[in-house]
Amino acid sequence: MKIRVKINGQDRSFEIDPSEYLLDTLRKNGYMSVKRGCDTGSCGACTVLLDGRPVISCSVLSASVDGHEITTAEGIANQMKEYMHALASEGADQCGFCQPGLLVMIYYLKKMIDKGLIERDKETVRRYLIGNLCRCSGYLPQERAIFRFLGVD
């Protein structure tokens, strides 16, 4: 079957199998920032925005996104340079596998915090990042960079 989607602002169409998941469709078509980690909805490495809300693309059927809008880390990288500099300066880069999914979440959290829908405090930010696992377990430098970027004291 054929689906039409807007990915990072561009109209795209793909031939897919009805059983296919968004993670596979995106990676097959060159969106390599979307990582296959656990493939069971736990690690957050495959996080993308679907109509502006974060989702685990390993658990979203590609057929169900026909007519919707997807944003991957590639689409927001330019707006997140300050965050990436914060990561580098805190020594939080390590293997980098979890970073694209985390970057998408931080982008979303910043918007929600700026709108006043999510509290700007450490405990709340930690809670909302519970679904982004780092296999290097490099959480402390990541946390310093995230708090700095989000202006969390």
Partner: protein
Amino acid sequence: MSLRIKEYVRPKTLEEAYSLLQKEGAEILGGTTYARLSSREIQLAIDLQDLGLDEIKEEENGWISIGSMARLSDLEFHPLLKDFAGGFLPYVLSRIWSLQLRGVATVGGTVVPRWGFSDFLTAVLALETEVEFYKSGRMKLEDFLEKGLKEKDIMTRLLIKKEERRAVFKYMRNSEYDFSIVNVAVSVKVEDGKLYDCRIAVGARPGVAKLATKAMEILKESYDDEHVEMALHAVEDEINFGDDFRWSGEYRKSVALVLLKRALGEVIS
């Protein structure tokens, strides 16, 4: 391990969806988060996203109406639920797995399969909640959770009575990022500073959430310490707790009673 879908359809009307559902091998897709983990074939997968069933609104007669296709994250940030029962539902929702999963999981996909591990079901069961189906109509959530439906039907809405309630949710997990091994929710109606109509729900037993009706009946008489103790004994007698690979039923029961005592203490104080 994979879910195989032979044919995928998006009906444009409820009648069309209902008619498709009656075909052999037809199933409605919820959020697909749990289906992802299964290994089976669906002959005809019906996606309800074009039916406008994702609306969350206040009804004129004092109920909050939540469409079955609303995402858990839609509820979490909805202004209508922010102050209802002291922000009880957004609190519970924010503790369920990850925000990315809550962005995929739907209300219908949680209610209809009557998941035993659900925190959401325990929470809404402790409120006055009803569930509406296209053909079977509207029924109390506790009745649906206990009996299910006799025929294939489409859930259209979850309805929560908008009344002044004080509500508390407690859970025990092996780690914070996990399913609850047991959970409890308690709510009381508050009118002119007095407490009425205590509702006690126990879930992840590991069976689906259930109301502790005998305990609720005891608390109609009084909310003093003696009646709270009597209510806890009633819960011990009337709620079944089972074993699974994580915990024994006996341990679940012990923990549930502690959580309930704390929850009752908080709503009554």
